[in-house]
C-alpha cells in the first residue's frame, strides 16, 4: 500500500464543526455517530464500497509516529450521491483526500464522512441529503 507520508491523524474539534448538522440517512445519525467527536483526517483512499444504504470510503492515515491506520467513512446512499454528481470516479483508490466527519460511537476507527476535499482544493459532499442544504 502506497502512502505519501502526508498526513496527520489529528482531530480538529471545534464549535464550527459541531454546527454541521447530521446526515439524514437511513437512520438517525445519532444511532451510530457521536456529534461531540468530529474528526478531520488526511490520507489516501484504499477502498470504496459503492453500496446501499451508505457508501463507505476507506482511507489510510499516517500518524505523526509513522504508523498507518485505516479509517472507514460512511457517506450517503449511492443514488443521492449520483444525482449530486458524486460517483465512483470521484473517489478513486490512491487519491489523497481530507475527510471530515464524526466518529463512530463505539470508538472504532470509523466515522461519518460528509465532506471530502482533494489536494487541488475541490470539495464534494459525500453525506446524505440534509448535509448539502445551505444554512443547516
Amino acid at each position: 500500500m502506497k502512502t505519501f507520508g502526508l498526513v496527520r491523524a489529528a482531530c480538529i474539534v471545534g464549535l464550527l464543526a459541531a454546527t454541521t448538522l447530521p446526515a439524514l440517512a437511513h437512520h438517525s445519525f445519532a444511532a451510530e455517530f457521536d456529534r461531540a467527536k468530529p474528526v478531520k483526517l488526511k490520507g489516501v483512499i484504499t477502498r470504496l464500497e459503492w453500496q446501499n444504504p451508505h457508501i463507505w470510503l476507506f482511507v489510510d492515515v499516517t500518524g505523526d509516529d509513522g504508523k498507518v491506520t485505516n479509517w472507514g467513512f460512511s457517506g450517503g446512499p449511492p443514488g443521492l450521491l449520483t444525482r449530486r454528481g458524486v460517483n465512483k470516479e470521484t473517489l478513486k483508490v490512491g487519491t489523497v483526500v481530507i475527510v471530515s466527519g464524526f466518529r463512530a460511537k463505539d470508538g472504532s476507527n470509523n466515522a461519518s464522512g460528509g465532506s471530502v476535499t482533494f489536494e487541488d482544493g475541490r470539495n464534494v459532499f459525500t453525506g446524505s441529503a440534509e448535509d448539502a442544504v445551505p444554512n443547516r
Binding site: 439524514l24 437511513h26 438517525s28 446501499n52 443514488g79 442544504v133
Partner: protein, 262 residues
C-alpha cells in the same frame, strides 16, 4: 392481492410510457409564475384527471424537515402526550429501528427528502419512494377499506377523486414512529397510535403537488389536524429514474457497533 399487484404493474408500465411522453410537456408547463401556470392547463391523463405522474421530493431544510409542526397540532387528550412523545430508552432497536433496516412506513418514510416517483393509472395511484423503496399502490376504484388485513406500517389506503383533488384515506396502522422529531429532541421519538387515521388531499401546484396530510389520532389528539407540504416536482430526475436502495446490502454500523470489520 396477487391479481391486484399484477393489474397494478401492468397498468403502471402502460402509464409509465404515458408519463415519459408527457414529461417534456410538464417541463415546458412549469412556468415560474403561478399566474402563467394557472392560465395554461396542466397535463391531464387520458381519463381527464390531472396527471400527477412524475418525480417529486418532500421538503428539505431547516424550516421544513421531515416532521410535522407543533403549531398545526390539535390539543392532546388526557394521556395523549405520553403516547405521542415516547422516551428513547437506550435500546437501539426501540430508539432507531431503521438502523436495523426496519421500515419507516407512512408518513414517516414518505416525508424523507428522497425522490418519489408517482405513476398514475385510472385504477391505481402508484407511489414509489426511493428511501427504503417504500411503495404505495392505492386503489381508486371506490373499494372500501379491507376488513381482513393485519395492521401495517403503511396502513390500508383507498383513494378517490374530488374534482381535481385526489383524496387518500388510510387506516389500520401499527403504532409506529410519526416523523423525524428526534433531530429536534434526541431524547424522544414522536409516535402515532394504533388508532391512527390519515387523510391526504393532493392537488396540483405550479411547483409540484400540494400535499395536505390530516392526522386523525383519537387516542392522542382531541381533534384531527392538518399540515400542508409541497412535494416539489423534479422532472430532471425522469431520465435516470429511481436508484435502488437496499438497506441490508452494506449496513455496517447497526446500533453504532462498527467494529473493525474492514
Amino acid at each position: 392481492m396477487r391479481n391486484r399487484l399484477t393489474v397494478a404493474s401492468l397498468a403502471a408500465a402502460a402509464a409509465a410510457v404515458v408519463a415519459v411522453s408527457l414529461t417534456p410537456v410538464r417541463v415546458a408547463g412549469q412556468a415560474p409564475q403561478a399566474q402563467a401556470s394557472a392560465a395554461v392547463p396542466a397535463s391531464r391523463a387520458p381519463d381527464g384527471k390531472p396527471d400527477f405522474s412524475g418525480f417529486y421530493q418532500a421538503p428539505v431544510g431547516a424550516e421544513r424537515g421531515p416532521r410535522f409542526s407543533p403549531s398545526k397540532m390539535a390539543p392532546f387528550k388526557p394521556g395523549g402526550e405520553a403516547l405521542f412523545y415516547e422516551m428513547r430508552n437506550g435500546d437501539p432497536f426501540h430508539d432507531e429501528p431503521r438502523d436495523f433496516c426496519w421500515p419507516s412506513g407512512f408518513p414517516w418514510g414518505f416525508l424523507a427528502p428522497y425522490p418519489v416517483q408517482i405513476v398514475q393509472t385510472p385504477q391505481f395511484m402508484v407511489m414509489v419512494h426511493e428511501f427504503q423503496r417504500l411503495t404505495r399502490i392505492i386503489p381508486l376504484d371506490g373499494r372500501p377499506h379491507s376488513a381482513k388485513v393485519e395492521p401495517s406500517y403503511g396502513g390500508d389506503s383507498v383513494g378517490h377523486w374530488e374534482g381535481d383533488t385526489l383524496v387518500i384515506d388510510t387506516t389500520n396502522y401499527k403504532r409506529w414512529g410519526l416523523d423525524d422529531y428526534h433531530y429536534v429532541d434526541p431524547t424522544k421519538n414522536r409516535m402515532h397510535s394504533d388508532a391512527f387515521h390519515t387523510i391526504e388531499r393532493i392537488s396540483r401546484n405550479p411547483n409540484g403537488l400540494n400535499w395536505q396530510i390530516t392526522i386523525d389520532d383519537p387516542k392522542i389528539f382531541t381533534a384531527p389536524w392538518s399540515e400542508d407540504f409541497l412535494m416539489r416536482a423534479h422532472p430532471e430526475w425522469a431520465k435516470d429514474g429511481l436508484f435502488e436502495f437496499v438497506c441490508q446490502e452494506n449496513n455496517r454500523c447497526p446500533a453504532g457497533k462498527c467494529g473493525d470489520g474492514k
